[in-house]
Symmetry: none
Subunit: 270 residues, 2 copies
């Protein structure tokens, strides 16, 4: 089970959650599993007041932060993981089932060079989930494995239940030594979970990557690249391209400096 | 993951659930994880009509059975497992954390002498959980491990979330090669958890990276970056910087195109 300090570095980000009951239910699940940091992204005032009626979630809701956009909500996070029900979405990201995703998130928290590095776990709106644009802010995605009854229509989870299941998986490890109902069987050894940190020792923050993406976009525009290769220059494409560089803070700073200089030069001539 | 036939033998029993929304939420979670059989024990008419507004749960609710008492609800089941938040209750039963409880339920389904034997999973009322009298109907109990924030008051989960988390654990396996309580078969190997590389499997060739490095070096030279940041522009520095991008062949081609265009533009002006 993660330490309280580790759980404290996980931020739950609800994007365009419409229903105050769902925000309350997400906060309740966070309370139950020991998380404290909730951020809600909405383009209208977040109905925290209504959500505050949720049982047992008052501390989480009292500290919840409303953000005007997703980039702002994740700017200080070094790992951004999106949740998706997959469905018809055209996924451009690595996708892990939740049982494999949770150990990776914890490994990131534990092996990160920055002991205060933050992880954002994103949940989309009740109706549509995360859009492709929102997914493009993510380093990778996770999905909750479900089992469809034959003939039933496409699956998506209730928002509060999805948050509860994800947080449960994060705190459930390791399979602690079994306390058998009968004494006959020897307790099974908990399986070792070999988990390597996925990303380089310390990843750059989402805010750094966002600034770099903006510089890259303007550089491409001014150089004529955007006109010649519009398909490669779509903002979401560029955001993903930059995330796939797996930059640490040092290299993010170098590339930012490179594109600043290129832009300075291109501006002088165009 | 259990087969649909195995899941079909698990019956969810809600005891004294008061709120139609919670009955609907439980049914929604059942739908999501492929369960079909819901029984609701109440000493007054069960508000199925109100619960039927729950999204995506109509088949489960249409087949739900109202029972006058718990004994009737579980009469045809060969294993009865109660859920509890523990709290101050005086437990007389073996208690397993959910991660250990789920494999035992599945083992019971698989190794039971009766291949149609049914398992009941009991959830108590929102306010009080299962009473001691109700718990006494159970073979054993399970509890969802939670992590309490220091100073917060006693934990109990939202009913719909508790059902979702329990069913998730039932379908999430492997790993789950736990022995059935009654059998002393040889210990199963702890299953290996296959961890796929999350980033692209295929790296760009060294030749591709070398061409990109050469283009980058000339771009930096012509833009004035090399003069301003000589330490960052050393050929070996640049080679390592490009290798650290972890490019696959597609992204290597994109970046090569980007720097070709930048160079084309810079050459026109210098």
């Amino acid at each position: 089970m993660p330490t309280p300090e580790e759980l404290d570095r996980i931020h739950i980000v609800l994007v365009r959650a419409r229903n105050p009951n769902n925000i309350g239910a997400a906060a309740r699940a966070m309370h139950d599993f020991g998380l404290r940091h909730l951020r809600v992204v909405n383009d209208y005032p977040v109905p925290f007041e209504s959500a505050r009626t949720a049982v047992d979630a008052s501390e989480v809701l009292a500290d919840a932060v409303a953000c005007a956009n997703l980039a702002e909500a994740i700017a200080d996070c070094t790992l951004v993981v999106g949740t998706t029900a997959v469905g018809e979405r055209d996924l451009q990201h690595p996708l892990l089932p939740l049982p494999q995703a949770a150990p990776r998130i914890l490994a990131e928290l534990r092996h990160s060079a920055d002991p205060t590095g933050r992880v954002a776990l994103l949940f989309g709106s009740e109706k549509t989930g995360l859009s492709n644009e929102e997914l493009s802010h993510c380093n990778w995605l996770l999905t909750v494995p479900m089992q469809q009854v034959a003939g039933a229509r496409h699956l998506s989870m209730n928002l509060g239940q999805a948050v509860a299941v994800c947080l449960y998986e994060l705190v459930r490890e390791p399979p602690a030594a079994t306390l058998p109902p009968s004494e006959s069987s020897p307790a099974a050894e908990p399986p070792a979970i070999p988990v390597e940190p996925i990303l380089s020792a310390q990843p750059a923050s989402a805010g750094d990557l966002d600034r770099l993406t903006t510089l890259l976009a303007e550089t491409l525009e001014r150089s004529g690249y955007t006109r010649r290769h519009p398909a490669n220059s779509d903002p979401m494409q560029l955001r993903r391209l930059v995330r796939r560089m797996s930059l640490d803070p040092g290299d993010a700073a170098v590339w930012t400096g490179v594109f600043r200089q290129l832009l300075f030069k291109l501006r002088r001539f165009s």
